[in-house]
Amino acid sequence: MGLSTNRLGLYNPEKPMENRLTDMGPRHFWQYFPPIIQKNYGKWLYHEILEPGVLVHVSETGDKVFTVRCGGARFMTVEHVREICDIADKYCGGHVRFTTRNNIEFMVESLEKLDALKKDLTGRKHVTGSLKFPIGGTGAGLTNIVHTQGYIHCHTPATDASSMVKAVMDDLFEYFQGMTLPAQVRVSMACCLNMCGAVHCSDIALLGYHRKPPIVDAEVLDSVCEIPLVIAACPTAAISPTKTETGKKAVKINDERCMFCGNCYTMCMALPLSDSQGDCVTILAGGKISNRINAPRFSKVVIPALPNNFPRFPEVCQSVRKIIEVYDSHANKYERIGDWAARVGWERFFELCDFPFSEHLIDDYRLQYDTYRTSTLFKYSPASWEVSKAVGGVED
């Protein structure tokens, strides 16, 4: 049975439940494996990165599979996917794979095919010049940025995603195609605190953030929202019931208590937060998800707010580059950004990156005490001398 070519296809709106098929789940994975993957499933012995973006996996059967990893914008059109299929048909027996971080992987069985594939991929460019299939994203370098929808599809973003990712990857492209860093660097991007991209455990996280409390659309609030649910949605109890001058039920916001999480807007469309001046980009660093050497950990806020400077976010690009360059020249082999910052001390991180340390960076939410330094073990940095000067503890 082919795909239908009429307005409603197989669906009959007169009888919506007729012939309905449900609960069949995804397609089974096995049929999509190239034969070499089927043959060696569970039999792999070891792997090696031959050059940036190119891996070989060796099986106990003696088989080898060569993988070429290419960066991809996670936003793709059917035109791009058809081109991916052309390449898969030409070199890979019609098979292709995508990684969790939106990379595209082509697999071949011989070095000859590998060379032809690499050459072909490298030559493919959009008419305006950008590469369609940049090879890289392996080892001690920078791989693709996982991200969220932003202005392409989302109703709650505090910034855009696809544009920021394009700008940052353009700027850091040498690290995508190189393996010169002390360890891998995982950058993630989410356009609001909902973090559909779960950026909270990344080496560097780029996060859109609102900074103005919601505006109350009192005209409609009572008719489109459940007021008790809206009040309950606020984690800081900043929302309380009120009435408008005309007697309509509405809510009021205690602005001082708002932490701009947007949870109220998720519950109620009559409380929009977004604002071109208020919305900003927060940068976090030092998280990871691997259990290697030490436990996974959260990223920490290192820059509270940078402007939404569309479409290329120069301040964001500059800051990310700064972190990577300082890390690159100071960290030991195998140290992730967070390992290095913990070893030298976060006070040194701020000094070396030349990022100002403002009061915004000190936790004042529920678990703030866990971050207080309760010892005399610290390093002197310009920021600490400022405190000493402020109380006459040292000469100016």
């Binding site: 070519t5 197989l10 012995l45 048909d89 989302c154 855009d160 691997s290 259990n291 996974p296």
Partner: protein, 473 residues
């Protein structure tokens, strides 16, 4: 080794399924594309076409041209959808605010998830994206595809939607970006009847499970991540499609503690492959690393001169439990002290391999910051054998947890928040498991123990008169 799918799979051949002929698919040239202008002025958006990284704008433009040149009766939604999307993006950049309206409840009959409703708030200016609903299509485990399948999906989506998609969304689904309400049921019928393909999850459902590449191409996979992901997805279809939970629930499957799908940070129930016997050592290969014949860490550091490989500095001294040492030319590991962090195995993949007696650790309750702050998953089951059909996991872990959470969880409370609110002690009761020191980083430092009456000799019922018989007021 092969696999029998739970549901028999029909073979999909693009030649049998296709909508567009070759002429329609190749209907523009590069020179036409170079001179192509979309109907809106988008100078800010167009700044995203330069630079080496793949430009989503350049990609969108070629789809726009392709649709321009297709006959409108070969597309069930307006051909201008791509141009209007770029136009609206330009306005969003200028305004510094999104132009998608809040919410919109649409879907397919009988399902409570899989479709996200979206409407433009600039419908007059951009009528082709007035509706811009997305459809989540449940990806095959670990995201391998055939071109037959992908090409068929492309034809279906270009015919009934915008032709724009995400490969993939953060949770793992194939995301179809943008169609009108009228086409939702037809898309669902084509997916299920023709492509034998179901939707993914959204809302207060089980979300689409996802997994790492596992045994397909990784030597470290200690569990069969693909099979578990597929099996659990099939087994819990009802939970995936029909919202019955307090909030979203995610399963993710990582084959080893390197955690390539980040299950430990972003799934309510995280399965991480591990082993309980000894790391397998090939002593000759260890010497090859020491002798510099094999690059360390699979060649991951070859872009910089880090000097000669030093096993003491790079492996033994970085071992977090200091359970490794050299005896002459022999590498020794005290496996019972090992916490299986993977560092030594990552550095010397040719010489060291995980053990053979494998299973999973199960950790519970990870989530992003909304609402009570971000949480990492908590180690709950240290080791469990993972063999199909995984009844031990389903009956002893998943279902008791769900029963508890559905009974006690508040609206929009994730499992991790419920665990915090009611305590690990309650979790132990729910799972009927004893306490273990592994569930915490350290024991409590306050003695405010909520003793129960039955814990204390003689119970709590006391008589004040009896007390006063010994103590004057």
């Amino acid at each position: 080794m092969g696999f029998e799918p739970i549901v028999p799979q029909k073979e999909l051949k693009y030649q049998d399924l296709r909508i567009y002929n070759d002429k329609e698919l190749n209907n523009y040239t590069d020179s036409e594309l170079k001179s192509f202008k979309i109907k809106h002025e988008i100078p800010v958006v167009e700044q995203l076409e330069s630079g080496p990284w793949p430009s989503f704008v350049a990609d969108a433009k070629r789809l726009a041209l392709h649709r321009r040149k297709l006959s409108q009766d070969r597309m069930m939604i307006d051909r201008d959808v791509v141009e209007d999307l770029l136009g609206q993006l330009e306005v969003s950049f200028k305004d510094g605010e999104t132009h998608w309206k809040h919410g919109g409840i649409v879907g397919v009959f009988g399902y409570g998830g899989g479709v996200i409703g979206r409407y433009s708030d600039l419908q007059k200016q951009f009528p082709s994206v007035a509706h811009f609903h997305t459809v989540r299509v449940n990806q095959p485990a670990s995201k391998f595809y055939s071109s037959d399948y992908l090409r068929s999906l492309c034809d279906l989506w270009e015919y009934r939607g915008s032709g724009m998609m995400n490969l993939h969304g953060s949770t793992g689904d194939i995301v179809f970006l943008g169609t009108f309400t009228e086409q939702l049921e037809p898309i669902f019928y084509e997916l299920t009847h023709v492509m034998q393909q179901d939707l993914g999850g959204s809302g207060s459902n089980l979300r689409t499970p996802s997994c790492c590449i596992g045994k397909a191409r990784c030597e470290w996979a200690c569990i069969d991540t693909q099979d578990m992901c597929y099996d659990f997805t099939q087994h819990y279809q009802d939970e995936l499609h029909r919202p019955a939970f307090p909030y979203k629930f995610k399963f993710k499957f990582d084959g080893c503690p390197n955690c390539c799908v980040a299950s430990i940070a972003r799934s309510d129930m995280s399965f991480i492959g591990t082993w309980r016997d000894n790391i397998r050592i090939d002593q000759e290969a260890v010497q090859a690393y020491i002798g510099g014949e094999v690059p360390p860490n699979g060649g991951a550091h070859q872009g910089r001169d880090w000097g000669k490989f030093d096993i003491k500095k790079e492996v033994l001294d970085l071992c977090p439990t200091q359970c490794m040492w050299m005896e002459g030319k022999k590498l020794m590991i005290d496996d019972k002290e090992c916490t299986r962090c993977m560092h030594c195995i990552n550095v010397m993949p040719k010489a060291l391999r995980p053990g053979k007696d494998t299973g999973a650790s199960i950790l519970l309750g990870a989530k992003a910051p909304i609402l009570e702050g971000a949480q990492m998953a908590t180690l709950t089951i240290p080791f469990i054998k993972c063999e199909a059909p995984y009844d031990n996991i389903k009956e002893k872990v998943i279902e008791p947890i769900w029963d508890w959470w559905m009974e006690e969880g508040k609206n929009r409370e994730r499992l991790g928040e419920l665990i915090q609110r009611q305590g690990i002690r309650k979790l132990l009761q729910v799972l009927n498991i004893p306490a273990m020191p592994q569930a915490v980083k350290e024991p409590r430092s306050n003695p405010y123990i909520f003793w129960k009456e039955e814990d204390v000799p003689g119970g709590w019922k006391r008589d004040i008169k009896d007390y006063r018989s010994r103590h004057a007021r």
